[in-house]
């Protein structure tokens, strides 16, 4: 059965995040002869829009304007509704990001639609789209089917395969959006994401636990992250102790991450932390305690003081990557 699929692009500034391409790949797979379109909402985003054609979007709807400079739910929802009205999709895919997580359920409420959140795999089985998603932060998974006329899904970054850019250009259609007055307003935006690498989309994460001992103790971890182009994360223990900001917390409470490489430093590996990171592709654990549960999920373990190993790893990595 063919279906039209609308992908809501996820942006950082005016650049598309990789998850946008990943969602377009899934959209192409499930369209089965239907059309794939993208929707780009933002300020100054029109110039970039056509390149989404290279990843499978035949047309790109654009809501471009100052009203979209910051994420204002009412404005973004108005644009999304206009896009849905125009394209009449059977499926809407969004990123499971700050914006997608918020916007998906809003649209779902208006359309009385079913939604699968935080999807890590999409397949078509006997004509049905089957979405795989974690429950209990990845301690288990479910495969679900959506029965409503419109299906909505938010996809987790780093899990679906992004197609190669084939260089095609999509036709760009400016949307006419009836904005209205937003009921919330952004007073201020404080940028504080430490390394500029977002945790949920990072390919490599260097993470610290109680063993890091203080906020200063995160310094060597940040240095290693800097050399690797990685994001810095933390366990609940480290956040509760005040060593790291809660926005860095990884675990069942906190963020669930699936990077290619996860380096756990001074993290014992409580079940609630393991739930948030054990689906990473490769896990390295550095801990003084050979009995720490983190070693049970680690591909490589180093039993030693992190304050010896991490600086040594940083300088060795610097040389290694330069070779």
């Amino acid at each position: 059965m063919s279906r039209n699929v609308l992908v809501v692009a996820d942006l950082r500034g005016s650049q598309f995040r990789n998850v946008t391409y990943e969602a377009l790949g899934a959209a192409t797979k499930m369209a089965e002869g239907g059309q794939v379109a993208a929707l780009v909402i933002g300020f100054g985003v029109t110039d970039n829009a056509k390149m989404l054609g290279g990843y499978g979007a035949e047309q790109v709807y654009v809501a471009d304007g100052e009203a979209y400079e910051n994420y204002v739910p009412d404005h973004y929802l108005a644009a999304l509704k206009a896009g849905v009205e125009e394209f009449q999709p059977q499926v809407v895919l969004l990123a499971h990001s700050a914006i997608g997580r918020d916007l998906g359920p809003m649209l779902a409420a208006h359309q009385k639609a079913g939604q699968a959140s935080d999807v890590v795999n999409i397949e078509v089985v006997d004509g049905d789209v089957i979405y795989t998603r974690p429950i209990y932060a990845g301690k288990a998974f479910t495969k679900v089917k959506i029965t409503s006329a419109l299906a909505i899904a938010t996809v987790r970054p780093n899990n679906l395969a992004a197609p190669e850019n084939n260089g095609a250009e999509a036709s760009v259609i400016a949307l006419n959006v009836n904005l209205g007055t937003a009921r919330t307003s952004v007073r201020e935006l404080v940028k504080k994401a430490a390394t500029g690498v977002d945790l949920t989309e990072a390919k490599i994460i260097v993470s610290g636990g109680r063993g890091v001992k203080s906020a200063d103790g995160f310094k060597p971890l940040a240095d290693l992250a800097g050399v690797l182009g990685a994001a810095v994360g933390a366990s609940r223990g480290a956040c509760d102790a005040g060593y790291a900001d809660y926005s860095l917390q990884i675990g069942q409470t906190g963020k669930v991450v699936t990077p290619d490489l996860y380096i756990a430093c001074g993290i014992s590996g409580a079940i609630q932390h393991l739930a948030g990171m054990s689906n990473s592709k490769v896990i390295v654990a550095i801990n003084k305690d050979p009995e720490a549960p983190i070693f049970k999920v680690a591909d490589y373990g180093i039993v030693a003081d992190l304050f010896d190993v991490v600086p040594a790893l940083t300088s060795a990595t610097q040389k290694f990557l330069a070779e």
Binding site: A98, T142, T184, V282
Partner: protein
């Protein structure tokens, strides 16, 4: 100030998940008030302490959910509404439609909820609910201040902070870092047993099971493949670090 808090009872985050006949097994599992909802309850109570008013907790769930309600009441919430009806236990569509019906008959200034439940982890219900009620919402808040008839909140947006204002009534979802939930006192626990819990069914709400039937069907539930244990690297620090880098590049191909 009248505050409603939507709560859910969930597995404890330290719980191991096992399956029985393709379903998640509940036997022997310790249940708790969803940690994110605990922040919401705490925030509601501390706002009430500053601005007066009442705190009403609302849940949709089986009989065992009453324990989570009692926890919230023992922390300091005043009363509770419990929708206990098999036909009301479905997906996020179901939960939000049922909650909206419960809330439409109430007067309120603020609705608080956790930004997600640690079991299903969808984070859909609160945003859906706000839309169904026709009120604005702000997700993942880490600080709340009341200014006249509006709230000014700090919101965690992927590590950055947005400062957002909205007129009440408004719905806010709690992110960790919002506060430090209090432990119920002995007196609080004793008082909680006397506080009213209003039980409701779908019929009481004027809903038919078909109105709120799930739109997401679970086809299969499975556990991830167990990881085979890895290698412990031995030797001097420098040698171990070198070996690790080689392995990461050549065997794991992640560098």
């Amino acid at each position: 100030m009248n505050i409603l808090v939507c709560i859910k009872q969930t597995f404890d985050t330290e719980a191991k998940i096992t399956l029985d006949n393709g379903l998640v097994k509940e036997d022997g599992v310790q249940f708790v008030l969803n940690p994110y909802d605990e922040y919401a309850v705490e925030e509601a109570i501390s706002l009430k302490e500053k601005h007066d008013g009442t705190v009403t907790v609302i849940t949709v769930g089986p009989a065992r959910s009453e324990e989570a309600i009692r926890t919230a009441l023992a922390m300091g919430a005043d009363e509770a509404i419990h929708v206990e009806d098999e036909a009301a236990f479905g997906d996020e569509f179901t939960a939000s439609e049922v909650l909206a019906k419960v809330i439409q008959g109430l007067t309120y200034d603020l609705i608080l909820a956790g930004n997600q439940a640690v079991d299903d982890g969808s984070g859909q219900v609160a945003a859906r609910l706000a839309e169904l009620l026709g009120i604005p919402h702000v997700a993942t808040v880490v600080k709340v201040e009341v200014e006249g008839d509006a709230v000014v909140v700090h919101r965690d947006a992927e590590g950055d902070t947005e400062v957002i204002s909205a007129k009440m009534p408004v719905l806010l979802t709690a992110q960790q870092g919002l506060n430090e939930p209090r432990y119920p006192s002995l007196l609080g626990i004793r008082k909680a047993s006397k506080k009213p819990i209003e039980k409701k069914t779908l019929a009481d709400l004027g809903l038919n099971p078909t109105d709120v039937a799930s739109q997401v069907m679970v086809v299969e539930t499975y556990l991830p493949a167990a990881k085979s244990s890895g290698r412990i690297l031995e030797g001097e620090t420098a040698a171990r670090v070198q070996e690790l880098l080689q392995e990461l590049r050549q065997t794991s191909k992640v560098l």
